[in-house]
Structures are given as structure tokens and as C-alpha cells.
Symmetry: C2
Subunit: 346 residues, 2 copies
Amino acid sequence: MKGNSYLEAGVDTNAADKTVELIGHEARSTYVPGVLAGVGPFSGLFELKGYKEPVISSSTDGVGTKLLVAIALGRRRSIGIDLVHLCVNDVITSGAQPLFFLDYIAAGVLVPEQVVEVVKGIAEACRGVGCALVGGETAEMPGVYRAGHFDLAGFVVGVVERSDLIDGTAIEKGDVLVGIPSSGIHTNGLSLARKVFGVGISEDDEGRAREREILEQWYPQLGRTLGDELLEPHRSYWPLLKPHLPLIKGMAHISGGGLVGNVPRVLPKGLAASFARGSWSVPPIFSLIQERGRIPQPEMYRTFNMGIGMVLVCTAADAGVICHEIPGASRIGEVVEEKDGRTEFV
Amino acid sequence: MKGNSYLEAGVDTNAADKTVELIGHEARSTYVPGVLAGVGPFSGLFELKGYKEPVISSSTDGVGTKLLVAIALGRRRSIGIDLVHLCVNDVITSGAQPLFFLDYIAAGVLVPEQVVEVVKGIAEACRGVGCALVGGETAEMPGVYRAGHFDLAGFVVGVVERSDLIDGTAIEKGDVLVGIPSSGIHTNGLSLARKVFGVGISEDDEGRAREREILEQWYPQLGRTLGDELLEPHRSYWPLLKPHLPLIKGMAHISGGGLVGNVPRVLPKGLAASFARGSWSVPPIFSLIQERGRIPQPEMYRTFNMGIGMVLVCTAADAGVICHEIPGASRIGEVVEEKDGRTEFV
């Protein structure tokens, strides 16, 4: 009888080694000053320079079931971009400069080419934001994931000078809510969208072929296929917002929970967000989902970003500057006294 | 901690609120000076004080298929402890003080009680290490995970003064390898161990009942059941090593790849690790796995920690001090010139 080995137990360390080599190349392409490369093989090292009272801002997140759309279409690069942008958009809400990123990728069976495709997307997004990919874990976990499935988690660390911290405390009644457009569905509400269209559900070849057809259907109102629309990566707001940080009193990343669930989180007690309905145009993907799924309006606003990916709170005067400088930015509401709840639509 | 994912995924909102509340309670129990609590709802904030040239050390990891043993026995707290310790043991190899931790928990269906149990373990371990649980993500991902399964990823950030960085550059021929005992299998080689014993594989009730029986079997050589032995949490080395950092030239966390795969990673080029066979006692769990699985010796050393969870490199004189001060620490080899490979057993 042959002895057991790690390989026979479902863990292929050669495949893992090959993957690590390819990933290393991508990671190095993201390095910025501060990265201590090749030092300390067990951790990522980043030298912090030029801060008097540094506050470290961190966040972790995953792309949710947008993965299932990506898997259905065999596209993995854009999901890597999503992962970075959604984490970075959380961490910058405190005014923090993103410094570095780490990723966790797990699958039942690791296919090096597929992992590398995800990491290529991660590295591309990191370069765009100017944050370094300093570490990650690639885990082969036979028995945990369904065949062909994998999961992704991202971790980002940023830094902000204590005196520049954006913490919402300066927000007052009469301040303006500035909305910055999203690029589409981003990474929230995909479970509902998938249910409406019937994708990312099938477990047999026939079902998967049908799902592919659904995703490859061209929609005139979208100007592209459903799959292209759903997989459009989460937008990165850092390059747009960085020059305007001193004007921003509070910043809400519109992820799970939508405008209703996220904007109140940055407001001081006793204040509420009053959104002016019709002050921005809701992208066609949301109308399409709503009509197909016969979803009530409030449910739409609780689940999806409805076209606004980031909300800034600032004075009316500063809002004028920001709306002039940032393409697509517009005044979508104001801060009011809290009456019946923490949000209202007028 | 964010809690949107629960609501969005259609989990009973009362249960979800309760979970978020319980998680928040656990997180607050870990707070150390530096945590800016209640500020910036989208990210965890930590104020860094007292460092002249801070280097931030970071790491991410997962517990691998140790999860399947935990799931088979319905125990989730110890796996949370594993998650923290294995990440922390990576980050301290550079001499960094662990500052804060974030966790990512994903499942097909989230059961609040189960999530809280994992988080209790995470918080317990964070308190033990003195690092704060400042954030996390709990994701419900129907269709990605097999029924009853979940995954965990951890992310830790530490800091070290530039001048105190442990980077292995001072290591030279004749330096001593000091081994610190592991508490058992830790979180590596579980896929092989599970295959040998036939656990964490079954998909039906009958199979699961059989697996439970296997795990509940008492072994005289272990002095406990197989399940208790396999689920023994990954040991935390920080409290032991912190007082001795100035004596340590290099530090290797013995995780995937064993002694053979990890110790050479901290050695300068041209040097190799020479281990003295028999200089430490290999715990009975490894002999049991080896005999049951008829696994060749080299495969054992490539896959498991074989009783050594951390290896320190220091001068012979300093090794004497460390072996005297740290319970169980012993000289297990030395640094030699590289000849045929980067490790040898003599």
C-alpha cells in the first residue's frame, strides 16, 4: 500500500508554489515607497514616514455573490478590482491615504491560472489607488467550497494625520449631501439581482449554459450585455476625492444597506439625511432589476446604491466647489433635524 | 463591526441585530489604548503613539481545513483562537507588537449563534495577545459554500521601531536554532490528517455520525480524544517571546511547509539550517498520523510542525538565556554553510 501524502489528500503544494511565483510578480508591480520588500518573509512590512500623530485606518470586506456572476462567465480579473476598490472606499471615509493591501483567496481546488487572474485585477486596482499589495494567503480547502467555487477577502490599511481625521463631528444642520455616481451595482445586492435574473444558481451543465445565455443577452437600455453590466467593477473614489479632503466633514460609502443604511452612520445624533428625490438619475440597471423583480421602491433603496456610490457631507459653499471639480458630483440632499427617522426622501 | 450583510441577506433582523450587538460586546472587550472607538463607522481606527520610525507589519491567514474538524464536532470557539494566534505568530516574526485584528467570516447560511461563538474565540485570543478586534465582515453567500460550511480569514497589524526590526541579516554561521514547542498539529497538515483518520469528508448524516465517533475515540498515547487533540488551538508565542526580542536575530513561524519549508526563509543566502534529530521530542499525535497513514518521514517534516511551532535564531550565548527563560525552549540545531540544500538533519 502506498503511503499517504499531502498531494493525495487534495493539497497540491507544487501548484501552490507556482501560484506564489506568479503572484509575486504582480505584487511587486504595486510597490510604492515605504514597502520594505524582501524583508520578513512571514509578514508584509511598510515603513511609515512623515506623520506626526498617525491614525491607522483599516477595513476588511469581500465581494459577496458577485463572485457567482464572475464564475458563471469565467471572468476573474474584474472581481479582483472590485475587491480592492470596495475595501479602499471604506478606509478612505476617515480621510486616510491607502497604504497597503492584503488578499485572502480560498478554493476547493486551486487552479493557478485562475488565482493569478484574480490577483492581476487586485494588482491593477492597487496600482491605480497607489497602495501596495504586500501580502496574501492562497488556501486550498477541499471539502469546504463547492466545485469550481472560491472566495475572496481583502484587507486594506491606510493612514491619516490625527488632525486631518474625518469623523463627522463637525456636521451640522443645513450641510449639504453631495453624491458621487457609482459605476453600476458595485458589490451589493447581487444576491437579489441574481435571483431576479436567475443566475449563479445552477449546479448542472445545462443550467450553467442557460445562465451564460442570460448573462450574454444584450439590453438596449444598458447598451451592453447583462453580464458586462453586472460585472462592471466597483468604482474607486480615492483619486477623485484626495484633492478635496479638507472640505469634507463626513463621508459615507454606499455599500450594503444603500443610502438609507449608510448615510446616517456618519451623522451626529439628532441629525438626519434628507434626500431630494429626482436630484440624480438612477442608472437603467436598477430600473431593470426593479421591473423584472417587481421590487418595491423602499426595498430597492435599502438594497442597492441606486446610482450613488459615495456621499460627502460639507457646507453649501464647499459643495459648490466639489460639484464643480468632480465630474458627475451633484447635490442630492441636505442634513436636517431628525424627526421620524434618520433618512427622508422629499 | 458592520452588520449590514445579515439584513441584506434576509436573515431574521432581530437575530441579526442581536448578533451585531453580541459581536460588538466581544470586540469592545479587546480594546487597548490606541483604539478610536465609535469613530469612523466604515473602518477601524487606531492611533499610533510613541514610535520614531514605525514599521507596520501585517499578515493574513486562514485556519484551513481544521474548520472541517471543528464543524464535525460542532465546536467553533477554539477555531477563532486559532485564527488570531496563527496570524499573530506571523506578524511578530519581524519583532512587531500586534496592535489590532480584523476578521472575515463567510457562510452559505449564517447562524448568528455560530458566528458569535467564533467571535468569542477571536476576542479571547485578542485579549490574550493584547491586540484589539477593530473590525470585521460577516458575509452570507448562498451558493458558494457547501451546506453547514463556512470560512474564516484573519488579518493582523503590528508595529515595530525601525531600529528594532528583526530581519535575519545579522544571522551567521554557528548561530543556534532554538525551537519553541507547538501545542500540537496547529493549523497545518489537517487535510492529510483528516484523510488518514477519515474525518471531515462525509456528506450524509450516517457518515457524519461515524466521523463523530472517530473523533470521540480516546487514545491512551494522546491522553485524550482525537478530536480534542486535533482541535487544540494554535499556540500564541507573543507573550513568551516579547521579553526576549533584543536577543533574536531571526524568527520562523513553523506553518505550512514545516521546519524544512520555513526556517530557510529567514536565513541569509549561502546559509542552511542543520537540525539535530532527536534533540526534541516529537509529540505522539505525529507518530499516530505517520503510522496510521504509512507516511514517509520526509513527507511528515514537509507537512507538519513535528512539535516545533516557532524557531528562533540567535548566538549560542543568547540561546542559553532563552532556553533557560522560556519553558520548553531547546536548542534543536544550528546555522551552517549551505552545501546540498537549505536544510539538513544530522
